[in-house]
Amino acid sequence: MSLATLTIHELSQKLRQREVSAEEITRDVLGRIESTEGTIHSFITVLREPALEAAKAADERFHREPDPNPLLGIPLAVKDNVITRGIRTTAGSKILDDFLPPYDATVSAKLRAAGAVIIGKTNMDEFAMGSSAENSAFFPTRNPWDTARVPGGSSGGSAAAVAADQCAGALGTDTGGSIRQPAACCGIVGLKPTYGRVSRFGIIAFASSMDQVGPLTKDVTDCALLLEAIAGHDPSDSTSVDRPVPRYSEMLAGGVQGFRVGIPKEYFISGVQPEVERAVGAAIRVFQDHGAIIEEISLPHTEYAVAAYYIVATAEASSNLARYDGMRYGYRARGRDLTETYTLTRAQAFGAEVKRRIILGTYVLSAGYYDAYYLKAQKVRTLIRRDFDEAFSRCDILLTPTAPTTAFRLGEKIKEPLQMYLSDVFTIPANLAGLPALSVPCGFDAAGLPVGLQLIGRHFEESKLLRAAYAYEQATRWGALRPVLESA
C-alpha cells in the first residue's frame, strides 16, 4: 500500500514508531502528485523542493522530540487564498499572479510550527467565489471520482487533492459552503468551524463576516487533529475568540446515545436529487439505531438564506476587493490617468464572476439602495440566527444533506450564476449564523458519485459535531472508499 493513501493519524503513528521517515512519505506523495496531477489539476503551485526540505527538518525533529506533534512530518496542502511567506499565493486570480507574501497567515505559521510539510497551494474559484473551482483564473480542477465533473468549490483543489491522495489533508476556507460542498462532492470530511474559532489573519478576504478556515481530511479523526492545530485566539484577528481549544481528537468516542438530532424539514425540499435524499434518510436511521433521538424541526427562514447571503457576501466582497488597485502589489495596467489605470487594472485582471459580484455588491451598497438591500439582508440574518437558536434549545445537532445534488458536470452551471449559487442552499445558513458545520460521506449515487451528510452544531460545539460524525463514520465507513484513478 502506498503511503500517500494513509490518513494523518496513520502516518503519524508510523512516524512515531520509526517505520517510515517524513522524507519517504513526502517523496511518495510527490510521486503521487506527479502521476495524477495531469488528470486532476488540484494545485496552482507544487512545492517540491521546499517540501523535501521541510520533511528532512521534520525527521531531525523526530530525533530530538520525545512527544512529537501529530502533524510533524505530515504532507498537507493549503488553499491558495491562505498566504504563505515567500511562497506564491494567488487566490486563484490573475491580479495576484506573481504575489509573494511577505509574512505567513496565522494558520500557515501554526502548520509550520507543528512541523507539517506544506506540499502545495491548491486551486480554487477566484477569490473563493464559486461552487465548482471553474472560476479559477488558471484552470479547472477535476473530480477524482469522475474527471468530467467538478470537484465542488471554492476549495475544489484542496478537496480533490485529499480525495486523490495527493496530500494527507488540506486547509480550505468556507464563506458559504466552500469547504463542505467540495468535501461532499469528493467523498471526504470537511469542517467549517464557528466564526472566530480559527484566525483569519492572512486569509485573502472575501466576505469578512463569514470567512472561516477549516480542515478537509480523509476521516473524522484527521479533521479533529487538524482543527486542534489551527484553532485558537489570535491578537492579530480582532474577531478571533479567546476561548480554550479543546483536545478534539480525544473527545471522539462516546457515540450518539441520547443525542437530540434535529431534522429541519425545509432541507428536504423538491429539487434535492432523490439519491441524495435516500442516502441522508439512511444516515438518519443509522443515528437512530445508535440511540440518537430524532426530531423533525423547522427553520422557517431557510428559503431566504441564499438571497440574504448574496447581498451580504457581495457587499463585503466589493469593499474587500477595493484594495486591488494596482498600486502597492499585484497586477497594474497602464492608463492615461489614475482612474483609467485603476479601471484597466481591475477590468483586465479580475475574472467574470468576481466582476459580477463586485458590481452587485457595489450596487446594493450604493446611495439609495443600502436600506432596501444591505440593511434588509442583515435583518433577515438575525431571523435566520433566531431560527437556529430556537432549534438548538431542543437539539444538540442538526442533520441535513450538504448539497442538493452530487458533483455536476464541468460547464453545466457556469453560464447560469443563479443556478450555481443554489448549490450552496444548505451550507449558507451556517455561515450567516456563524455556526460550526461539517460534511461527512454518507453514500453514493447510481453514477458512483459521493453524497455528503451535513451536521450543524451550536457555536463552539465542534467537539459534539466531530463526536457524532465519528460515531457515524465508525458505523458506516463510507469515507474509507477511495476513487480509482488512472495515472496520466
Binding site: T194, S209, Y304
Partner: protein
C-alpha cells in the same frame, strides 16, 4: 426594481471597473435575475428586527498601543509594480 444600463454604468464607475459592450448587455440581464431573486426578502416583515452586526458577540477587542511588527520596508514593498527609493511609484494624480 429592474436594473438599467445607466445603473450599471454608474456602478462600474463607482467600482472602477469596465466591461466590453456586449458583456454589459448580458450583465444587465444577469443582475436583473439575481435582484429579482433577492426581492423575495421583501415578503418578510422586519421593522422590529435588529440588523445583525456580529454573529458571535465578543465585544471590542482592544490591545495596548505598542508597535508589534518590525519595520521591513523592503519585504513589504517587494510586490510593488513600481517603486523608487522606498516609495511606491504611481501615476501622476495632479496635473
Amino acid at each position: 426594481m429592474p436594473i438599467t444600463r445607466d445603473d450599471l454604468e454608474r456602478v462600474l464607475l463607482l467600482a472602477r471597473l469596465s466591461l466590453p459592450a456586449d458583456e454589459e448587455a448580458r450583465l444587465v440581464q444577469e443582475l436583473g435575475e439575481v435582484l429579482a431573486y433577492v426581492e423575495k426578502l421583501d415578503r418578510l416583515a422586519t421593522d422590529d428586527v435588529p440588523p445583525m452586526t456580529h454573529v458571535v458577540d465578543i465585544g471590542a477587542s482592544l490591545r495596548d498601543d505598542v508597535v508589534s511588527n518590525r519595520p521591513d520596508t523592503d519585504a513589504l514593498m517587494a510586490n510593488a509594480p513600481a517603486r523608487e527609493d522606498g516609495f511606491f511609484r504611481v501615476p501622476k494624480i495632479i496635473e
